[in-house]
Amino acid sequence: MADVTQSVNVFEQIRLVAGLRWRILRNSLRKKNNRLDLIGLIFTGIFSGIVVIGLCFAFYAGAYAFLSRGRLEWMASLFWGIFLFWQLFPVFVAGFGASFEFRTLLRFPLNLRAFYIIGLAYGFADFSALASICWLLAMTAGAAVAKPGVLPAMLVIVAAFILLNATLERLIGSWLERLLARRRTRELFLGLFVLSMVSLNFLSPLMQRYGASARPVFLRVLPYFAWFPPSLAGRALAAIIRLQPAGFLLNSALLLLYLVLFSALLWCRFAAQYRGEEVSETAAPARTAVRPIAGKDHGPDRLSLLSPPVAAVVRKEFRYLTRNGFAYLTLLMPPLLIMIFSMNFAGRHPTVGGKGVSADIFFPGMMAYLILILMAPAYNSFAYEGRGIQTYFTAPLRFRDVLLGKNLMLVSVLSVEIALSIAMLAWRVGLPSAHMLVATCAAIIFTIVGQLTVANWSSITFPRKMEFGQMRGQRQSGMAVLVAFASQILMGGISAVILFTGNWTGNPWLPAEAFVLLAAAAVGGYFASLDALTKLAEEKKEGLIEALCR
């Protein structure tokens, strides 16, 4: 008869989970690449430590100043700052990737209470929680120095506030986890997140234009914030200083009510997980209606000019692009960026600099910037292939067909993007002079085709697997980034020098002629490189497969 183990207490289990997380981190640093990450982690740690300690002083000074000068209502603003950081920061840094799944602990003999406590304790291990607790303690110290009698009440309020924040953060986290369990939602969320970050650039021009009229609306909404936890914490503290025990009790009771409500909701979420809730798409795929596939796709082949393998790769790349929500949404960025930059720097009413930049400078500058952004993925073009990369090596084709197909798709996307951007520029700023327009268009061909050759080499030599719809852990190989950076600086530098030669020599058409020649050379060089790259791919195939099939 096998032994039956004794039940382990909750605190021992928490200790074991903490140890597990530590070992996962330590083991992940064993590899050579990850040791470089460790150096990055140390630098980030030092930087974060400085920020946290610096803000500790700021919260200490803020609490001390507000209490000693009798500005009690301002204490709520400190609680609000901590509250927003604690709740929003984890969403920004951890909402996208799979980190340690504490739900996997369910395979062990835990009861629901233990699962809840471990889940809650897990929330205290976040950077945002640790930093916020430090700041709340600094606030407590500042308040105690300013008004020593307030310390017991402050400790009660801070304890409730910490527990409330930790509970709410876990609640938001578990809801997000449920929402992001589906790949499509995750990609959409990530795309919207990136777009909203880009849209922040609109804030400055919008505030300049509509700031004055938005102020009364903001002031009208402000009183409603008084019923949220940070304001309640601030009011409870103010009440105790003003010797209004009823006010303290009322606000504290409301704060506790929030805590009870959030705890109950979190208990329900954890209970659902404890019962084995699984919402990811692969667990139980929904059956779709039977749909005959015969008769589809018999129309004329729109890619009939290409060889079958190249056409197949182009089609596959197009489908991958349309299914990568993040990449798809980032295609909206170039026209958006042109709008933002033209609002700030060019046209008749630039919000920065006062005087608008001329179209002859703005046009090539914007094009260079767009190519910089849009060419970046080409330096790791096999990133999303995954295990499919093996097909390229088992199929009877030369690798040049794969490169050609991938590059054709990228060039098509770039062409559409650049055409859209030129239309946006023409609308916002106006077109540049004819010689500058021709020179820039030829320079675009030169830089794109020239970079493709280097980018293909980089993709084969420094591959790094990436996952659709994930942000966390999605980094290019350091060498690929370096190659991209060097290549773009070189191409950009050459282009800038040639563009200025028109001014220096007094011959405005000289840059256009030079770029046409360089573009022709780049196209010739590109086709000449394909065979050499095919040979290289054959030599590097093991590394390529190993890196992408991981």
């Binding site: 798409e281 795929p285 779709t288 197949a312 093996q390 088992t394 199929a395 009877p396 195939k541 099939c549």
Partner: protein, 262 residues
């Protein structure tokens, strides 16, 4: 002398100090259903990767259907189909899209690719989810799709790395029937599996690799010679395997050490 589908000579692959495949000489005749067996880490997948062009050998040579792989890899690849370890699927395509992609990569025209992919999807019972991405398929469905992709161009040699893993009994039965029919029509099938009963039922010939070396090769009858079994019963492949691979005794777990479990 039968026509040889696969012939290797002193095929070797080293990873640093580790010799994963150590000078193996394989002989697989055309039309054979060939089982390639070995314990975990013996070198089975490495051998398949070398034979299908996913890995270059450190030394040695190989000929598939009489063509030297090193000299004419494209011609060899045109004749073979592969279900590699991990299946090698593009997970962001739908099943029909993937089959069309593979068909075109192997040079089939559009109409043939379309027709064959429809037939294969029907056969593999994957036709009712034409809009689902492969990433959303179950493991068994992915396996069936990988097999469909491996045969869409009508290969003369089919390499299958654990083809029945995760496939339900119903589908496995249909697949076995399909594979048996393919061998009847002259296709050579080179299969690895840990399920020895499947290999015994399907394969006419077997090779066993252990620690990178080929320790046995031949028909099941040839391998049975000299291996004792219970009186009156036929020697099973499991007995053959254990008697060859477990000869040094290191592979058998020391059950007496786990007394607390008994």
């Amino acid at each position: 002398m039968p026509e040889m589908a696969i012939q290797t000579q002193k095929l070797t692959r080293r990873f640093g100090n580790l010799t994963a495949v150590d000078g193996i000489d394989l002989q697989v005749a055309a039309g054979q259903f060939f089982g390639f067996l070995g314990p975990n880490g013996a070198g089975k997948s490495t051998t398949i990767k070398i034979l299908t062009g996913l890995l270059a050998p450190t030394s040695g040579s190989m000929r598939l259907l009489g063509v030297d792989f090193a000299e004419n890899p494209v011609e060899v690849k045109r004749q073979i189909g592969v279900v590699p370890e991990g299946m090698g699927l593009f997970e962001r395509l739908t099943g029909p899209e993937y089959l069309k992609f593979v068909g075109r990569m192997y040079g089939l025209d559009r109409a043939t690719t379309q027709r064959r992919s429809e037939e294969l999807l029907e056969f593999m019972q994957l036709a009712d989810r034409p809009k689902s991405m492969i990433a959303d398929y179950s493991h068994g469905m992915q396996k069936k799709l990988a097999l469909a992709a491996a045969v869409i161009h009508g290969p003369r040699i089919l390499f299958l790395d654990e083809p029945f893993e995760g496939v339900d009994a119903l589908a496995a039965g249909a697949l076995k029937a399909l594979l048996a029919r393919m061998t009847e029509r002259g296709t050579t099938i080179f299969l690895t599996s840990h399920v020895l009963e499947i290999v015994e039922r399907l394969c006419s010939h077997v090779a066993i690799i252990h620690k990178g070396r080929l320790v046995a090769q031949g028909s099941l009858e040839e391998l049975r010679v000299g291996i004792s079994s219970e009186a009156g019963s036929k020697t099973t492949l499991e007995q053959i395997f254990l008697s060859i691979v477990g000869q040094d005794g290191t592979e058998r777990p020391q059950l007496e050490e786990l007394s607390w479990l008994m």
